[in-house]
């Protein structure tokens, strides 16, 4: 699936949820099915410090594709990072850098993108793009 197709699928899951709590339940559930991050990466070095929740992200480059792992100490940020991991994993650095992550807005999480939000979603996206950029310049240029 392309990044767009994956986003569209997530949007369709959220589309009919009217109630905020149902939306958040789905986000939390997304986190539960997340494989998490290898223990060795749950360190200061891989920490994206949101104000209140801790999120760790790590990425590897294999055969031209980027593979992400992410985890949080909170269920909600955990759900968000897990969606980002699912959407961006197994794509090329160029695809990732070119991606427009419109699902965030469409599922009603836009407020979480503001730099002052405490779960640091913006920082997560930024860090994941950084990985892609680093791989691109390291392996592809």
């Amino acid at each position: 699936m392309t990044i767009e197709e994956k986003q569209d699928q997530i949007i369709s899951e959220f589309e009919f949820l009217e109630d905020w709590l149902d939306k958040y339940q789905l986000i939390i559930d997304k986190g539960m099915s997340n494989k998490g991050i290898d223990e060795e990466y749950k360190t200061e070095e891989y920490l994206i410090e949101g104000c209140q929740s801790k999120v760790w992200v790590h990425a590897e480059y294999k055969n031209g594709f980027v593979f992400y792992q992410g985890e949080s100490n909170t269920d909600i940020a955990g759900g968000i990072v897990s969606m980002l991991v699912d959407i961006l994993t197994a794509h090329t650095p160029t695809e990732i850098l070119d991606a427009d992550l419109y699902f965030i807005d469409r599922i009603g999480l836009k407020e979480h993108l503001s730099p002052t939000r405490s779960n640091g979603m913006l920082a997560m996206v930024k860090q994941m793009r950084m990985y892609a950029l680093a791989f691109k310049s390291q392996y592809e240029d």
Binding site: L21, Q25, I28, Q52, N73, T74, D75, S118, N119
Partner: protein, 407 residues
């Protein structure tokens, strides 16, 4: 006398607001309180009707504005029962008031190796100013600890005092634990050793009747916005003898007596500490807020909030996995808690979606969190306009939210 909450709520238009299509339940009063219409009216009227720079003008409006600002000082004086109006210095808030003392008292009264005693439950604004002082005077901080219930170990104070102790700076009510500290006793012990006491009254002034003379404290700081007043205005009370003794904090207009390039002499109290154009609209609106509180009666407010605290404690304790952070007998205005292993951020986010505003995190009191070995808490803090029905909504909200998490 009981107070008429319905009538009070009418005075606070924001309480009618809906968020996420749910009626707003505002339990973040320790961060800031909502404002009654009379306070906002004073601000509007100030700018529309009575605006001119104070103290300097010969003209009508300037004199009117000056009188309003000085009348506000008198209102504050009476509200906290200070002996003189000139012992009231307007600041931006508690933070600026403490920084003023840390700087002016610190550089004039402290030498290298001197000690300042604070407590383990201080807000960062009563920790960091003293650490900043350390770059000018190499002072040491000594800490009065609290026990597992969050009760300050005042019996350890004597052993922390020595000939190098220059000041004891303590919060009246902890914003993270709710603990009310025995200020009178602390002041008595301190004064037996001729040591002055500074009190951070940010969380006590909105909830407890304050009498700085009865408490016998040397400095007392509070913020207007936490007691139904506007943001950007606060108060430092200082005993006359101390305010006379310590030097100005900032230099500028209004605080001087005479300036030449060789020498400047300073204005009398309190103007020596009010450099530049003060927030004279804010001070007048703060006075309106204090009058509003006085009209309802701080004792009545205290009683109502005490009932809320008691009711909330009882109801919350029935929730599975409820853990209170701060279980002192003597508490004021707020409850800090955790539910099971649910992260405070998660719980706060869901409560928000239910229209309930609580605060989550370390509440700018990281040493308190370190003492309990936790990252943060959920904090519900009360004001005069809160009701038992709102507490019921909070309890139901927590129960609803708790079902959503895997932790």
């Amino acid at each position: 006398m009981t107070i008429n909450i319905d009538k009070i709520r009418e005075d606070f238009p924001i309480l009618k607001k809906e968020v996420y299509r749910k009626p707003l339940v505002y339990f973040d009063n320790a961060a800031t309180t909502q404002k009654p219409t009379c306070v906002v009216d004073t601000i509007v009227k100030g700018y529309y009707d009575c605006n001119a720079n104070i103290h300097r003008g010969v003209h009508f409006l300037s004199q009117q504005a000056t009188e309003a600002h000085e009348a506000a000082r008198k209102t504050v004086q009476q509200f906290i029962h200070a002996q003189h109006a000139h012992e009231i210095v307007f600041t931006r808030g508690t933070t600026e008031a403490i920084n003023l003392v840390a700087h002016s008292f610190g550089i004039s009264q402290c030498s290298d190796d001197d000690e300042i005693i604070i407590t383990q439950m201080e807000h960062h604004s009563n920790i960091v100013p003293w650490q900043l002082l350390q770059s000018i005077r190499n002072i040491r901080l000594r800490i009065i600890p609290f026990d597992e219930k969050g009760v300050l170990q005042v019996n350890q104070l004597e052993s922390l005092i020595n000939e190098k102790t220059k000041l004891i700076a303590v919060s009246h009510v902890s914003n993270a634990l709710g603990t009310t500290n025995p200020i009178k006793e602390i002041a008595r012990i301190a004064h037996n050793h001729d040591i002055p006491v500074l009190v951070d009254g940010a969380q006590s002034t909105p909830h407890i009747s304050i009498d700085v003379q009865d408490l016998d404290v040397d400095f007392f700081a509070f913020s207007g916005h936490k007691i139904y007043g506007p943001t950007g205005i606060g108060v430092l009370y200082g005993k006359e003898k101390w305010l006379e003794k310590i030097p100005p904090y900032q230099g500028g207009g209004e605080m001087i007596h005479k300036v030449t390039f060789e020498k400047t002499t300073f204005n009398e109290l309190p103007f020596k500490f009010e450099a530049g154009t003060p927030d004279y609209i804010g001070s007048t609106a703060l006075a309106t807020a204090l009058d509003y509180v006085s009209n309802i009666g701080i004792e009545n407010i205290a009683q109502h909030e005490h009932e809320l605290l008691h009711y909330a404690t009882e109801k919350l304790s029935q929730i599975d996995g409820m853990r209170f952070i701060g279980e002192a007998e003597s508490k004021s205005g707020l409850i800090s808690f955790l539910v099971g292993n649910i992260h405070p951020y998660d719980l706060g986010t869901i409560l928000d979606k239910l229209g309930i505003a609580v605060r989550t995190g370390h509440h700018c009191a990281e040493p308190v969190m370190q003492a309990f070995n936790i990252e943060g808490t959920v904090r519900a803090s009360f004001a005069m306009y809160n009701t038992k029905e709102e507490i019921d909504i909070l309890v139901a909200g927590i129960e609803r939210a708790a079902k959503m998490f895997r932790r």
